[in-house]
């Protein structure tokens, strides 16, 4: 969100949440169509989330 690079672990999986070291933004890894991974802002906790 702040425009600075994000460190992503090599073994990351889609759905993993990563907190940006600089700005603290919570980001979600997702698979963008094919085999490419991308980042987007993680969604907040929804009412139907839980166990």
């Amino acid at each position: 969100m702040c425009g600075t690079p994000v460190n992503v672990p090599d073994d990351v999986l889609p759905g993993e949440l990563i907190e940006h070291e600089e700005c603290g933004a919570l980001l979600e890894v997702y698979q963008d169509g094919g085999n490419t991974f991308a980042l987007r802002r993680a969604e907040g906790i929804s009412e139907d989330w839980g166990e």
Partner: protein, 282 residues
């Protein structure tokens, strides 16, 4: 075997399941449901799956993806029937009552007036819960009619229509804890006390986990409750009532167990995978 793990948010449990599938010599197939669309007309990519383990944190995503995989004929744990029962507190309560399983006395009201009458019938304090939800969210202990009216007014202004369905339960005076018991098929791999000075003991709200030995009475009751909701792998919450003994409070169909593994040193992921493999063979 090719074992899919269907999930939306990758928590500790999903990572542990994927890792344990590998350790057991099988092939994990992580399916992150918000990365892809599901195409019922072109389903060949899924037909080589032997079994699916459902791990979506969103109830509605869990239900809809389970509908998808079950409709393709791919075995899935937990199955749709279990998610439908455990995802709705009233549905769970009705199954427990139908099977003569002790549970806190509960009334259901579809309006504010009926809710107030229900609470008076039970006697204050009461606990008001949404029928859908988890982690102790939006659950209120209500001490009197004024407070109840305030809570109900607030709920009437919430967007989701299910907030106008009031699940009202007697308040059980707990001994500063409740019990979370895990079931996998007919086995009970672990159980924890969830200890808190606050009346809500959820570990998501800071409740402390402590491993507990399950006595025969509790074992029999919990397995009966598991069967009543359709079986599978479950997290069953039990209250200790001072006069009536064990009461089954809630049943969780996509249960979390990180804290239980930490304090009980039991590999619950491995047990879930082995259970899924047996389901996949049938």
């Amino acid at each position: 075997m090719r074992i899919a793990v269907v999930y939306d948010v990758l928590r500790w449990e999903e990572k542990d399941i994927i890792s344990n599938i590998r350790s057991l010599g099988h092939e994990p197939v992580p399916i992150h449901v918000t990365s892809f669309y599901l195409d019922p007309y072109s389903n060949t990519q899924y037909m080589n799956l032997d079994v699916v383990i459902q791990r979506c944190v969103s109830l509605f995503r869990a239900i809809e993806t389970t509908v998808f995989f079950e409709s393709l004929g791919i075995p899935i744990v937990n199955k749709l029937e279990v998610l439908m029962v455990t995802g709705d507190k009233l549905h769970t309560t009705m199954k427990l009552i139908a099977n003569n399983i002790p549970t806190p006395r509960t009334l259901i009201a579809m309006s504010r007036e009926a809710a107030v009458n229900a609470a008076k019938k039970l006697g204050f304090p009461v606990v008001v819960k949404p029928i859908i939800g988890s982690w102790g969210r939006m659950i209120a202990k209500v001490n009197d009619e004024d407070a109840l009216n305030s809570i109900l007014e607030l709920r009437e202004h919430l967007q989701a229509p299910y907030h106008r369905i009031h699940y009202i339960q007697e308040y059980i005076e707990k001994p500063g804890r409740d019990i979370r018991v895990f079931t996998v098929g007919n086995e009970i791999p672990a159980a924890i006390y969830r200890i808190s000075n606050y009346w809500k003991t959820n570990t998501a709200l800071g409740g402390r986990a402590e491993c507990v030995k399950v006595c025969d009475e509790l074992r029999d009751l919990v397995l009966k409750a598991a069967e009543a909701v359709g079986g599978g792998y479950l997290g069953i919450d039990v209250l200790e009532d001072p006069s009536r003994g064990y009461l089954i409070n809630e049943v969780n169909g996509v249960t979390e167990y990180k804290n239980t593994v930490r304090v009980c040193k039991v590999n619950i992921s491995e047990l879930i995978i082995k259970y899924a493999i047996e389901v996949g063979k049938k």
